[in-house]
């Protein structure tokens, strides 16, 4: 089969069953080179299994997985793992090693220069704890160490399974900073996450997984168009002109609320631009426009509750 080099990862009609339990059910998806691809879905939707399939840790029951142009279960794929990083969900490490020893061990296995170890420890703020044993580390510290090992050697392909769970907001910011630095170097990132509001601004494309099936995949605006959730618009208008503005717009769009100096509008995603043109036609009467596009959590809830996949 021809290999599409634009795709860092490709899943073709992949099923994964454990006994009679279907964990992944006929998934087709592609992760493009250099993008940030986010898997969202309920607990037990199959996100971790999809990631393990991509990592070559588990074999699909049916279908084909291609990573960097090769089946990750091939024995020859081992060498390609040098260009891959993985942060497992709640990573566990050798408890009697120190942070420094652990990173050193992983760096040697990856063939990464030992000069990078100190830099990575500093990046995740673990330099002071570097010589402490890992069984004294808190969950947050282990998670940061997990990230440090995942980004060793600046991988081309980075897998993060619920990376920011249990991290405080400040650390989260550093966390995303490290990932964004890597991304500017061309790294493809696959993230599974429940932290929808922090991920939506970082995702290029989002895959919604429900009971092992891919119910939707696309950019945030693709998804919101598909769901048909409305865009909310609030117009600030000159005092007393609200009723007049509402009257002029009523022919083109739905008016939600009107009060003395503001008008709230609701319109579907694909009528957004037309509506904006009508607003522009109103001239000076409209002082300000603020729009709220549907958030990922609304879209997510819609997919989880509404559409029966």
């Amino acid at each position: 089969m021809p290999v599409n080099t634009d795709h860092a990862i490709e899943l073709r009609a992949v099923d994964k069953r454990y006994g009679k339990t279907v964990v992944v059910d006929g998934i087709d998806l592609q992760v493009h080179n250099g993008e940030c691809f986010v898997l969202i879905g309920h607990n037990g939707a199959g996100k971790t299994t999809i990631m393990k399939l991509m990592l070559g840790l588990t074999r699909p029951s049916i279908g084909q997985v291609m990573v960097l142009g090769e089946d990750p279960m091939n024995r020859s794929f081992v060498a390609r793992r040098q260009a891959m990083g993985y942060l497992p969900e709640s990573a566990s490490f050798y408890p009697h090693m120190t942070g420094l020893e652990l990173l050193g061990y992983y760096a040697r296995l990856k063939g990464v220069s030992s000069t990078e170890i100190g830099r990575r420890l500093e990046q995740v703020g673990l330099l002071d704890a570097a010589t402490r044993r890992l069984n004294t580390y808190s969950k947050g510290m282990r998670q940061r160490l997990g990230l440090a090992q995942a980004v060793l050697g600046a991988p081309r392909l980075l897998f993060l399974d619920e990376p920011t769970t249990g991290l405080d907001p400040l650390v989260r910011r550093d966390f995303y900073q490290i990932i964004s630095d890597l991304r500017s170097g061309g790294t493809t990132v696959v993230i599974s996450s429940h932290a929808l509001n922090e991920i939506e601004v970082r995702a290029d494309r989002i895959a919604v997984i429900k009971h092992g099936r891919l119910v939707a995949c696309g950019s945030l605006s693709d998804l919101s168009r598909r769901v048909g959730l409305p865009v909310r618009t609030r117009l600030a208008v000159a005092s007393g002109s609200a009723a007049r503005v509402a009257g002029q717009l009523a022919a083109h769009t739905r008016i939600d609320r009107v009060n003395d100096h503001s008008v709230d509008l609701i319109c579907p995603e694909d009528e957004k631009m037309a509506m904006l043109r009508h607003i522009a036609d109103l001239g000076d009467t409209v002082l300000d426009v603020s729009m709220t596009t549907p958030r990922l959590d609304e879209i997510y809830l819609h997919f989880m509750n509404g559409e029966r996949a």
Binding site: K52, L55, L57, T58, R59, R75, V78, A79, R80, R81, Q82, M84, G85, Y86, P88, S90, A91, S92, F93, Y94, H96, E101, Y105, Y106, R108, L109, K110, G111, Q149, F159
Partner: protein, 279 residues
């Protein structure tokens, strides 16, 4: 190729560091050294009419001891090599590194074997030094003693690999402990008892001497004993092994071959099982 070897060495070095850290190495050295010295002193008194050096007597007593002790030490080192990392979750991450599964197993084997080698060299070797010093520089029998040390390492390697096989077969660490103790009991203790009772019940009707020796030889612990008891001149007479019959003349090669096979076959089986394992 060099990268491949380097990876194995990195993995082995970690096992050795772990062994040093959790005092496994120190405890094993202490145990082997103390027992070697104690047995030599106990055994050096009543030698009787057979002329044998203190080293040759030590080989006899140490062989009988090592046959029980080394398999146990090796199994305790190896039983959780795989299942422990699976259960603890560290295997998941390790397998996403540029490391082949056979390399993981080879690295662990190399590391554990190095620990055993160190313990045997320092424990038994140290006792050898002390015995030579005490015996006013009498080195008679050093070849037999050295062969005992080398074959002890080989016996240890056999049971390391039996431990890995157990580790790849079971899903829980607790089960692996039980299976390791079971394997030790079966191969080291019960096998001989079973064989002897079979011989007694049979009264020589079906089990010929040849068959008996063959059955003896295929067990790695017995192969180890045969190698050390019959391999070197004086020792055979010392334990009376040669009196039992020509069937016991197993020589040096056959027991070594048996033990090498007991290293290779479980190793290959473990590699195959490990490769099939999904996470």
């Amino acid at each position: 190729m060099i990268r491949m070897l380097k990876t194995i060495l990195i993995l082995a070095a970690k096992e050795i560091r772990d062994g040093l850290r959790n005092r496994w190495v120190a405890a094993t050295i202490l145990l082997l050294g103390t027992l070697a010295l104690a047995l030599s002193y106990l055994g050096s008194a009543p030698i009787g009419e057979i002329r044998a050096g203190v080293l040759e007597v030590s080989v006899v007593s140490l062989t009988s001891l090592s046959m029980y002790l080394l398999p146990l030490i090796a199994l305790m080192l190896s039983f959780d090599a795989l299942v422990g990392e699976f259960e603890h979750g560290t295997m998941l991450l390790l397998l996403t590194y540029p490391v082949a599964r056979w390399q993981i197993l080879s690295g662990k084997f190399l590391g554990h074997a190095a620990i055993l080698l160190l313990a045997i060299l320092v424990g038994y070797g140290g006792a050898l030094g002390v015995l030579i010093l005490v015996g006013d520089g009498d080195t008679t029998g050093w070849q037999a003693y050295s062969a005992m040390m080398a074959s002890s390492l080989l016996l240890g390697c056999v049971f390391l690999n039996i431990g890995y096989l157990i580790s790849s077969l079971v899903r829980e660490r607790a089960v692996a402990v039980g299976a390791a103790v079971g394997a030790w009991l079966l191969l080291v203790v019960l096998y001989d008892l079973g064989l002897l009772s079979a011989l007694l019940i049979d009264e020589g009707k079906h089990i010929s001497e040849g068959l008996f020796s063959a059955l003896m030889l295929v067990n790695p612990a017995d192969a180890y004993r045969l190698f050390n008891f019959t391999g070197f001149g004086e020792i055979g007479r010392l334990v009376g092994a040669t009196d039992i019959g020509a069937g016991f003349e197993s020589g040096l090669v056959a027991p070594i071959l048996v033990m090498v096979l007991w290293v290779i076959v479980p190793f290959l089986l473990t590699t195959a099982l490990f490769h099939r394992r999904e996470l």
